[in-house]
């Protein structure tokens, strides 16, 4: 991939080698590329058993009985457990406790766990599953999200009164959360007709975003090992060890300290590991059998083993004055959360507050609904509610521009937010937001060569359809499109998602060494290098070790919401500062620092305590001797506020981030096939910590957005997934992924450590609408469904 990364502001001088701003190698990089990295599914113990899960074949059914007798008779089977065997709380959940550890009374989606088995061989376990009989009374599933939201006669997915009450979510019927936002004249109930009459152009469209899968390559897996104290040690691939612990322990009826978690090798996450999968089951089986129990889902099982991106049905209306100034917007967004809440309330919070994107619009009415259905549960995925809305508002911007005869970039610049703007919740953007500049940069980047300028235009790999030989140039039309998205970074709405870091400095073999210990999950994003880089920069020590992540240190929060560089990076920085202060104090105690010489004049550089005026005062190794300096610190971001349930007002977000994409595509307009020729990005990240990993995040995020634009959709019919495999759930290959030119801006956010801005999610927002806009540009089609299907391009109803 011939990408080029241009940095526009470089202030990355780092005195210590491999410090902040450099690109040290990842410790797991070579192992992963050579296939030697131990993923959670590779763990093995001499006396372990295999755990397997019996799942509901029905999306909605009443359970009249479960008979495990025959399964237990099978030699080699050590345990068969149902809901009756759950030692503690029978329900768990990320935000609302509404999901059974093992189903009782009812199953609410196809694939829901009903029983678990431990056996000495996976084949024995599988046979045991076949011998469990469940007496189901099949019920009609609630499959339509719109019906679930609005039809009073729609059956309830969860029985009335059975759910935890949250007044602020406007719960009703099958609504997990309803969040309105009202600004301008909508706040006092002015009807839209009044505004419509003042508009020079009005566009009104219904959009759909399909259910996207995170498509991580390492399926759900882990190993639970029973401990002598009656507790359990769990090695698992997850995104947030402590939130797992907080759900597992109550289900096992154990105190938190008896459920110890260690992060196992994670094969990707993207939100899909925020919710529990096999964790409680493996622990129950291990505690029951007294043996280590390993659980590994297969690929088909994985499709029902984790939550997906909420599919969305959206009705957007935008009105603009004739000069292109946006006047009003009304948005209805229905997010299908499936059978259990997962993170639906928070997804609704993002979709509503960021529903109109980074545009100044004086009058806005948003109605965002998260609903229960009997579809597969949906929750966190990279972009988290902002992706769906972004597809809608960016499509609307293009339509308005077309209607008004404006260039799409011009219209966006005209209405662009900037530092000081207010988003629709009333929150002020109190950090740089160089949106207009980013749009100009994206527009002005060099274009990829036209087809007739290619060295060999007959090379099939340059054509839509590729080597499948469907076109030698016939029907191929080029299009260009733009997309920009606004994403919140860190958790929102009053949630204190702090992170904890323990940093220890000591001399080992005469050399100062630092150990960084956090519970943060390395899910592939590269936090493992960032932690070391920060320690090197802050402490002037080259030898830094990163301790495996576990629950022996405080919570790090989730590897989600693009927040770990900010939060765990912030915690490591704080802990390092505390260690540094103690080292300075030690130097003073030893009389190495002159009186009246303030700490401001001191630094740790090259393994030495250095004074700005007096030069080297001591080597750290000598100063520390056999002592270790250890400090643990929590880092909290600034407090945020909930949205009010009536008008959706409140400064709910910690930080805002943005990426702009320009997509260039070649479309075979007769066959409906697309080749993305270029997917170029401009992103402001405040401060680059690791240039190479940053490029990887932007490329990866853009590619995941490309998947949503052109191919990725879990097809659900009557609440049943029709394509639970990578044969039919397609994700982009290298031949689908174009070169990406990336321009990175560094406009520091004064509130964030180093001024950094979370970077992982924004490109996932902007690349989808940019690509779809480019396909529209090439075809003249409306294209209201993401992903765009060949049928949509050639105009065949699906």
């Amino acid at each position: 991939m011939a990408d080029s990364v241009t940095r526009t502001r470089t202030d990355l001088s780092s005195v210590t080698q491999d410090g902040v701003g450099t690109s040290p190698r990842r410790p797991d990089g070579t192992l992963k590329v050579t296939g030697e990295f131990a993923y959670s599914s590779d763990m093995w113990m001499e006396d372990m058993l295999w755990g397997m899960t019996l799942r509901s074949p029905h999306p909605h059914a009443r359970i009249h009985g479960i008979d495990t007798t025959e399964a237990l008779k099978l030699p080699g089977v050590h345990a068969v457990l149902t809901h009756e065997d759950v030692p503690g709380e029978k329900l768990y959940g990320l935000e609302l406790r509404d999901q059974p550890v093992l189903a009782f009374d009812k199953v609410r989606y196809k694939g829901e766990a009903v029983a678990v088995v431990a056996a000495d061989h996976p084949e024995t376990a599988r046979r045991a599953l076949d011998r469990i009989t469940v007496d189901y009374e099949v019920l009609e599933p609630v499959s339509d999200g719109r019906r679930a939201a609005f039809d009073e006669h729609c059956p309830r997915v969860h029985e009335e009164g059975s759910l935890p009450v949250h007044e602020e979510y406007n719960q009703k019927g099958n609504l997990v959360r309803y969040q309105p936002v009202r600004t301008g004249s909508f706040a006092d109930g002015t009807p839209v007709s009044r505004l419509r009459a003042q508009a020079g152009a009005v566009v009104r469209t219904e959009y759909e975003v399909g259910m996207q899968d995170q498509a991580f390559l390492g399926p759900e897996s882990g190993m639970a090992v029973p401990a002598e104290d009656g507790g359990v040690d769990l090695y698992v691939a997850t995104q947030w060890l402590h939130v797992d612990q907080g759900q597992i322990a109550p289900a096992l009826g154990l105190p938190d300290e008896k459920v110890r978690l260690t992060l196992a090798g994670v094969g990707g996450a993207f939100g899909a590991r925020e919710d529990l999968s096999m964790q409680i089951h493996a622990c129950m089986l291990a505690l029951r059998t007294g043996r280590p129990v390993k659980v590994v889902y297969n690929r088909e099982e994985s499709f029902v083993g984790h939550v997906h991106r909420h599919p969305a049905k959206m009705r957007f209306e935008h009105g603009a004055r004739s000069d292109g100034t946006l006047l009003y917007a009304t948005l209805e967004i229905i997010l299908d959360g499936g059978a259990y809440a997962s993170s639906t309330p928070a997804v609704v919070g993002v979709a509503s507050s960021l529903g109109i994107g980074p545009y100044e619009v004086p009058n806005v009415a948003v109605d965002a609904y998260g609903v229960y259905t009997n579809n597969p549960p949906c929750g966190a995925m990279r972009g988290f509610g902002a992706v769906q809305a972004c597809f809608g508002y960016e499509s609307q911007m293009d339509k308005l521009a077309e209607k008004l005869g404006m260039h799409p970039v011009e219209l966006r610049i005209k209405n662009a937010m900037a530092q000081g703007s207010k988003i629709i919740t009333g929150q002020v953007v109190d950090m740089p937001l160089p949106m207009a500049e980013m749009l100009r940069r994206a527009r002005d980047m060099p274009m990829p060569p036209a087809r007739d300028e290619l060295p060999d235009p007959s090379d099939l790999r340059t054509l839509p359809g590729g080597v499948a030989n469907t076109s030698h140039g016939e029907g191929v039309v080029r299009g260009v499109g733009y997309g920009v998205g606004l994403k919140n970074i860190c958790y929102s709405e009053g949630f204190d998602d702090y992170s904890t870091a323990r940093v220890r400095m000591e001399a080992i073999g005469g050399e100062p060494s630092v150990m960084v210990h956090t519970a943060a999950a390395e899910v592939g994003q590269g936090l493992v290098t960032i932690k070391g880089q920060i320690a090197r920069t802050e402490l002037g020590v080259e030898r830094v070790t990163v301790h495996p992540s576990d629950t022996r240190v405080g919570s790090a929060g989730s590897s989600s919401a693009s927040r770990q560089s900010y939060m765990t990076g912030g915690a490591v920085k704080l802990a390092c500062e505390a260690v540094r202060e103690r080292v300075f104090a030690l130097a003073r105690e030893r009389g190495l620092v002159g009186a009246g010489h303030s700490d401001e004049l001191l630094s740790l550089t090259g393994g030495k305590v250095v004074s700005e005026t007096d030069g080297v005062l001591a080597s750290l190794a000598d100063l520390l001797g056999s002592d270790a300096v250890e400090e643990t610190r929590e880092f909290h971001h600034r407090t945020t506020r909930p949205l009010d349930p009536l008008h959706g007002q409140g400064a709910s977000h910690t930080q805002f981030a943005m990426c702009v994409h320009r997509a260039v595509v070649d479309v075979d307009v007769d066959l409906g096939l697309v080749k993305v020729v270029a997917l170029d990005a401009v992103q402001d990240v405040g401060k680059v910590l690791h240039p190479q990993q940053l490029a990887g995040q932007i490329q990866g995020g853009a590619t995941q957005g490309l998947g949503l634009a052109l191919m990725e959709e879990i097809q659900v019919e009557e609440s049943v997934i029709r394509n639970p495999s990578f044969t039919d759930y397609l994700i982009p290959t290298i031949l689908d992924t174009p070169p990406m030119r990336i321009e990175v801006l560094e406009r520091p956010d004064p509130n964030a450590p180093y001024g950094l801005r979370g970077a992982g999610e924004p490109p996932t927002l902007s690349s989808t609408p940019a690509i779809v806009a480019a396909v529209r540009d090439a075809t003249g089609r409306d294209l209201t469904h993401a992903p765009v299907r060949p049928e949509d391009i050639v105009g065949i109803d699906v």
Partner: protein, 289 residues
């Protein structure tokens, strides 16, 4: 499950005769997927990878004899001249890893309507060589596909080889997938122009319960085409050919695409492949003159 691993063809045939339900396994790129997904649990597997002659190919009179176990990679590298459409089809199969293992014999054994070898074998009028302890049979590809995943191969038979007629004109294969590599066909099409017999051949994939021929389209083209002078076909004729191909398809709506789209795509591919073939044919004629 028994694992039979014959070292010679004779032993393989004897094993198949003794265990008619044994599932042959060559590249394993279908068999292993089915086992993994627990779709069926055969009583025995019959490993053919040790039978050396299955992986061989070479001239057989005027034809080319392609062992059932020749990999797609070899086909791409070595058979581009003799069987261009089959080589093109092989190029569209899966990924390099799968192409190193996967074989035409396996494609025929599974007989999925989406198998990429089938349209070229149909269009080129290839012959399948079947063998058992009772002897060898030759079945035309055009008579081989009987129903959904059902073929003329009997339970005690193995597929020995494919016999490809000498190539006497242009061939083109195209395949629709919703990504640009590593994808099962949504629809595929192959056309051949045979100057020696002055006949046209077609094959359709992924648009019916079996791989199909568009017989009416072949007959139309055979009659319409200027075999002598290679004059261009009228736009109307090309269009009509596309329509005849589409109407020969019997597609369904499924996760990979809708029936209407498949028909539409077939008509487009048929027109394009025909135009490329006519151009090639004219170039070939010019070279002969």
């Amino acid at each position: 499950m028994e694992f039979l691993s014959p070292a010679t063809w004779e032993e393989a045939l004897a094993a198949k005769s003794a265990h008619p339900d044994a599932v042959p396994i060559m590249g394993g790129t279908d068999v292993m997927v089915e086992l993994n997904f627990d779709q069926h649990r055969p009583s025995a597997l019959l490993d053919l990878t040790r039978v050396a002659e299955l992986a061989e190919w070479g001239p057989d009179g005027s034809r080319v004899r392609l062992g059932a176990g020749v990999s797609y990679t070899t086909i791409i590298q070595r058979l581009g001249k003799h069987a261009p459409a089959l080589a093109q089809a092989a190029r569209t199969v899966a990924s390099p890893q799968i192409r190193n293992r996967g074989t035409v014999g396996g494609n025929l054994g599974g007989a999925s309507p989406a198998g990429d070898s089938h349209p070229p074998l149909l269009a080129a009028d290839a012959v399948i060589e079947l063998a058992s302890v009772h002897g060898v049979r030759h079945v035309a590809a055009r008579e081989f596909y009987l129903g959904p995943r059902r073929t003329a191969r009997r339970d005690d038979e193995l597929i020995a080889a494919v016999l490809l007629p000498e190539r006497a004109g242009p061939q083109h294969f195209c395949k629709i997938g919703t990504r640009n590599a590593m994808v099962i066909a949504v629809a595929s099409f192959c056309v051949t122009l045979d100057a020696a017999t002055r006949t046209a051949g077609t094959g359709i994939g992924s648009a019916g319960p079996t791989p199909l021929r568009a017989v009416a389209a072949e007959e139309f083209l055979t009659a319409e085409f200027d075999w002598q002078g290679a004059g261009p076909l009228s736009e109307a004729a090309v269009r009509h050919f596309g329509e005849l191909v589409a109407s020969a398809a019997r597609p369904i709506d499924d996760v990979r695409g809708s029936a209407d789209y498949r028909k539409h795509a077939l008509s487009v591919m048929a027109r394009r492949a025909l135009s490329w073939s006519v151009t090639d044919y004219r170039k070939g004629e010019a070279q002969c003159a």
